[in-house]
Amino acid sequence: MQKNYKKWFPIFVLPTLIAFVIAFLIPFVMGVYLSFTNFTTITNARWVGFDNYVKIFANKEFINALLFTAKFAIVAVVTINVFALSLALLLTKGLKGTNFFRTVFFMPNLIGGIVLGYIWQLILNGILYKFNVTLTYSEKYGFWGLVILMNWQLIGYMMIIYIAGIQNIPGDLIEAARIDGATSSQIVRKITLPMIMPSITICMFLTLSNSFKLFDQNLALTAGAPSKKTAMLALDIYNTFYGRQGYEGVGQAKAVLFFIMVAVLSLTQLWFTRKREVES
């Protein structure tokens, strides 16, 4: 049977493969190579070894962006998952209007990052106006503004995943616990939470990698102001590439480091999910 298929390779695989090679594979390999060179256009790349990687740390921008991103990611992961899980628990009780609430909570997720950024810029500046400051007055405002924005966007998304997890718990398990006299809070702690651990892992990593890779929202809400203090990693890389002539190599080196961080996060996730699958 395999032989029968093989001569059809050009039709089945080639269109996707060519697009994949041009859009992803070649740029990826070039990206790794260019991070070790000095260039303004790709044709004049000159090998400089680890120079670019050293230059990353010549000023504090990258480190600041990394710290800001890490802090943001931690706060966002905790708040989003606590809210999303609480909502999911409330919405799986068979209340009236569950569908309506689910629809409303999920909706912001579909709005693009740029539009989200400007919606919240208006609202947060409107509130801060009463105190005679703006969103870009202090990095604290930008930080919490982004946290609120991401909560608004992602709570509904994570809630959907938690609801799916909760609905997968066999009903007789909960019924048995009820008959044995367990209270609602005991059921949540002893049955629901352990049973939805896979969903919790997925949501934690989804929020984490979404927070880490955040760009559009960051650009639209504060664009890094004041003085680049609220620029996250992706925005800092973008600014290094396109903001300053002669720093393309440094930008690419930052991008490689960024890639390594995101890859480590993803592999940790894979490891966690695999481990769980073996256990269950």
Binding site: M1, Q2, W8, F9, I11, F12, V13, P15, T16, A19, F20, V21, I22, A23, F24, L25, I26, P27, F28, M30, G31, L34, T41, I42, K93, L95, G97, F101, V104, F105, M107, L110, I111, G112, G113, I114, V115, Y118, I119, L122, I123, N125, G126, Y129, W152, I160, I161, A164, I202, C203, F215, D216, L219, A234, I237, Y238, F241, Q252, A255, V262
Partner: protein, 278 residues
């Protein structure tokens, strides 16, 4: 019936929360009918004719003229539909082939597709734009090809997961009956893949419609999609026309809300399925 009374505070809480979730959109809508000078200092007041803050549709007219909204809408629609169409045509064929034909090469391809899913866009951004320039892919048709390449990782991965669970028997029967693999694929395999293809379509529509950076770098100077047009409205520092901005945010949200309300069932199912596998 024991818990009907207990439900009331919970329902009240959920109502308050859904109100909080909707109010940002309502505030933007309200401000889109206000004169641009009254937006920054009183964003939470309703526009009023008596106070002279109501501006009718003038924000919409200025906004549409300034950024060419309908043209941007057209480009967004064109790029999203054709890119998702290309992804739906080609990636399931690839996924089927590399699942059914087991060689070292196809399994290497499979792992490469998965690998591409964990690489952030910034890693390939700069070289990709250069490659696209050299190959004249920096136009609204070429970008479809780029989206096919970028979207193939997730799509192939999700489809392979499903194809593995499809029994071989039906395909073998159709081959024995004399169908070519291409006939087998379109008449037998593709109909079975439909549920997963809907998920793949939803995830890619959400991504491509809202994508900002890739189209901005590739075609942004000549062709603006909606996110590019909105960002363009910001212009230089401090020169933002708040009225036009509000009106354009409303126009940008309307198609999304329509899409959501019509395909809600598929979107929610697709997002849940995509997350479990992604």
């Amino acid at each position: 019936m024991k818990s009907r009374k207990k439900e009331i505070p919970v329902l009240f809480l959920l109502t308050v929360l859904s109100f909080l979730f909707l109010i940002p959109i309502f505030i933007v809508l309200m401000n889109s009918f206000k004169g641009k000078l009254y937006i920054s200092d009183q964003p939470f007041k309703l526009p009023s004719i008596a106070a002279g803050t109501f501006s009718g549709l003038s924000n919409y007219i200025t906004g549409v003229m300034k950024i060419g909204f309908f043209k941007a809408f057209g480009w967004s629609l064109f790029i999203t539909l054709l890119s998702v169409g290309a992804i739906l045509l080609f990636t399931p064929m690839t996924a089927w082939y590399i699942t059914r034909v087991k060689t070292k090469f196809t399994s290497m391809l499979y792992y490469l597709f998965i690998f591409s899913m964990i690489v952030p866009f910034q890693m390939v951004m700069y070289p990709m734009v250069k490659v696209a320039n050299v190959m004249s892919l920096d136009n609204p048709v070429g970008i479809i090809f780029i989206y096919l390449g970028f979207g193939s990782g997730l799509s192939v991965f999700m489809l392979c997961g499903f194809i593995k669970s499809v029994p071989l028997g039906i395909e073998e029967a159709s081959l024995i009956d004399g169908c070519t693999p291409i006939q087998t694929y379109f008449q037998v395999v593709m109909p079975m893949l439909k549920p997963t293809m809907v998920t793949v379509a939803i995830l890619n529509v959400m991504w491509i419609w809202n994508d900002y950076l890739l189209p901005y770098l590739l075609i942004g100077t000549e062709y603006r999609t909606i996110p590019i047009a909105i960002q363009y409205l910001k212009g230089g520092y401090g020169s933002i026309d708040m009225g036009a901005m509000m009106a354009m945010l409303v126009l940008a949200i309307i198609p999304i809300v329509i899409f959501y309300l019509t395909c809600q069932k598929y979107i929610i199912a697709g997002v849940a399925a995509g997350a479990v596998k992604g």
